[in-house]
């Protein structure tokens, strides 16, 4: 039961992101809009998974999950592409996404048994690298603003912490299943609540941006 609750909780987190980040859509900067679509994407796939569980006896649940991973990687990479103005960094991001798509296809073609683990661990690693690179970029630019009022600081911190946390889980998934068996549900429950915390931090970033827009409009 707690596993089901954790699923709903993480879906709610995604809904909060999409609501906050897509509110006053026209005034929002592009990277916040992408964050909003990321949240919406999570909500939609969660709904599809529920429909699959209710009406199709979980037949397509894995396919949906794999498709979600690909879209998640593309959306978050696009967010970094929008926020970083450096041309070299942008080229690296585009190359990484193409490389990921290649690995994604190859893993299903040639490593179908481990594909679940491969696509997730590569996604996690890619996000970790992007977030660390962005921190380096942030320090290099050295804004005089209070970092903690800067939405992208929170987005980046949440990305780094979340994907660092899930990387081990993704990489050693087969081993963990082999060792623990049904106990994987407990770990996945923890992962869901962890994702909910991740969503809350992203929503906070969206809220900070909303506050700054309101302040600009009133000022």
């Amino acid at each position: 039961m707690i596993f089901d609750i954790s699923n709903y909780v993480q879906g709610t987190g995604s809904l909060i992101i999409s609501l906050i980040c897509l509110k006053r859509y026209r005034d929002k900067p592009n990277y916040i809009k992408v964050l909003g679509f990321y949240g919406l994407n999570s909500v939609v796939f969660t709904l599809f998974q529920e429909i699959s569980a209710l009406f199709f006896e979980n037949q397509h649940i894995d396919t949906l999950a794999h498709a979600y991973v690909l879209l998640e990687c593309i959306l978050l990479s696009f967010l970094y592409y929008l926020i970083i103005s450096n041309k070299r960094f942008r080229k690296v991001i585009v190359f990484s996404v193409l490389l990921y798509c290649t690995i994604y296809i190859f893993s299903f073609l040639f490593f179908s048994k481990s594909a679940h683990s491969i696509i997730r661990s590569v996604r996690d690693l890619q996000m970790i690298i992007f977030s660390m690179a962005y921190f380096f970029y942030l320090l290099h630019e050295l804004s005089e603003d209070n970092l903690m009022r800067f939405p992208m600081f929170w987005i980046n911190s949440a990305t780094l912490v979340f994907f660092s946390g899930t990387f081990i889980l993704s990489y050693f998934r087969e081993y963990i299943i082999a060792m623990i068996g049904d106990g994987i549900a407990d770990y996945w429950t923890f992962r869901n609540f962890f994702r909910f915390a991740f969503c809350l931090v992203l929503a906070y970033a969206g809220w900070l941006n909303l506050q700054s827009i309101r302040a600009q409009k009133s000022g």
């Binding site: 660390m132 320090l139 050295l142 005089e144 970092l147 912490v161 660092s164």
Partner: protein, 239 residues
């Protein structure tokens, strides 16, 4: 991995804070350095003026006076007529007076001997005697002695303001109000040409006055004075 990620986030926050503090310290040092450079430049300017004033008064002034005395002796001989000597004497008198004036402007000896308030009053009276403009000087409160280097800067600002009002603004009435309290406030108003709020006055004189005010850790505001003219307010802390 989680702990490492958390550590990276805290490191970024800590590093940014340290870098900003270092940048602020550097900026403060730069400002202090520029302040010191400006102070040194202005003090050097004053000591140069003092030297030139002394050379004018003691050197050229004394020689001109000696020439005048010898001319007087020559006039008593029969070889040169009084009518020939008189225009020369008049020109010499005017030259001696000009040298004295230049020397006085360069080094106001009243300031050294009697202090700022007496020097300012005497300067207003001297300007009054040389021009047709009416210059009024009013003082409120008890004068507080300041460091000579600060007094000379204040003196120069007021001197420049009166000069500008007479030469550039063609003012016919100038008022100098000095108020002594917890700070020294000097307000100089004139009824000259003035300027519009959109067209702030620029020039080396104004730049020098602002620099002096900055060295004094004071404020200097110049604004249009209704119905016409300019109002300049100098505020200098006394502590």
């Amino acid at each position: 991995m989680l702990i490492l990620a958390g550590g990276i986030v805290f490191f970024v926050l800590f590093y940014q804070k340290r870098m900003l503090e270092a940048r602020l310290r550097e900026q403060n040092l730069e400002v202090m350095y520029q302040q010191k450079m400006m102070e040194a430049a202005l003090e050097s300017q004053e000591s140069e003026r003092k030297r030139v004033a002394a050379d004018l008064h003691d050197g050229i002034g004394a020689m001109l006076s000696a020439v005048r005395m010898n001319l007087g002796t020559l006039a008593r001989t029969e070889s040169v007529s009084a009518e020939t000597i008189q225009p020369v004497k008049t020109m010499l008198d005017e030259t001696i007076e000009s040298v004295r004036k230049i020397s006085r402007d360069l080094l106001p000896s009243t300031l050294e001997k009697f202090g700022l308030n007496v020097a300012l009053k005497e300067m207003c009276e001297r300007f009054q005697s040389l021009t047709e403009a009416g210059i009024t000087y009013t003082e409120h409160g008890e004068a507080v002695p300041m460091e000579k280097s600060r007094e000379i800067f204040v003196f120069r600002i007021v001197q420049e303001l009166i000069n500008n009002a007479l030469k550039h603004a063609n003012a016919s009435a100038i008022s100098v109000q000095v108020t002594w309290g917890s700070q020294l406030t000097i307000v100089v108003t004139d009824n000259g040409k003035g300027f519009s709020p959109d067209d702030q006055p620029k020039g080396l004189g104004l730049f020098n006055m602002q620099n002096r005010a900055r060295v004094l850790h004071g404020t200097f505001i110049i604004e249009p004075h209704k119905p016409s003219g300019t109002k300049a307010t100098l505020t200098v802390p006394l502590t």
